[in-house]
């Protein structure tokens, strides 16, 4: 089905803790793209990262980091020193042709 699975439906952590959001994807394609989007309570979808299937290099952007492993078909997202403003639903996604296929999302609560 070439779907994206986010096994964690909801996670709660205390502020300043690190948290990792898991994402596993299925694909039969050689070339594909993976994404993470953030959806805060206000509802908009905020683009965080896009990863090309040929680039397995991990990426860090401030407190955010991504671990892409083709061997396990995973594209995990870690927030270091979490903050209350990180509270949101996070969607992992992949492309299928021109459209984006989303996972079911992980709702992240950062408790003060």
């Amino acid at each position: 089905a070439q779907k994206v699975t986010q096994a964690q439906t909801e996670i709660s952590v205390v502020e300043k803790e690190d948290v990792t959001l898991d994402c596993v994807y299925e694909t039969r394609d050689t070339t594909y793209y993976l994404f993470w989007y953030k959806q805060p309570p206000s509802g908009e979808l905020v683009f965080l990262i896009r990863r090309n299937s040929f680039d397995e290099q991990n990426e860090i952007s401030g407190r955010y980091s991504w671990n892409f492993q083709k061997s396990t078909s995973s594209f995990n997202f870690t927030i270091t020193a979490s903050q209350v403003v990180d509270s949101a639903v996070y969607f992992c996604a992949r492309n299928r042709d021109d459209k984006i296929i989303f996972g079911k999302g992980t709702r992240l609560h950062i408790l003060p």
Binding site: T31, G43, E44, L45, D98, K99, I100, K104
Partner: protein, 114 residues
Amino acid sequence: AAGVIQSPRHLIKEKRETATLKCYPIPRHDTVYWYQQGPGQDPQFLISFYEKMQSDKGSIPDRFSAQQFSDYHSELNMSSLELGDSALYFCASSADRGHQETQYFGPGTRLLVL
């Protein structure tokens, strides 16, 4: 930087009414996508346009239609509205058709059907 603009941001309609949602892509983006996100759900692809032609179609009901105009803005027309159409409707745009281009999403239109 300019982002995708959607209007209206909120819309309340009665069953069997019609609704028109508008999307203005990022300048110089020629590809537009529409997604529907039901309550507590992930966004689902509806339809896309490239250079004013429909390029892909997802689970879009026959009651819905869409088009892209010469200035690249797009409109999603929804007729005979049903309660189940209540959702957040996103428009996204990209610089070109193709999976290598990132889709940037607008703020969404929240539609409530009573």
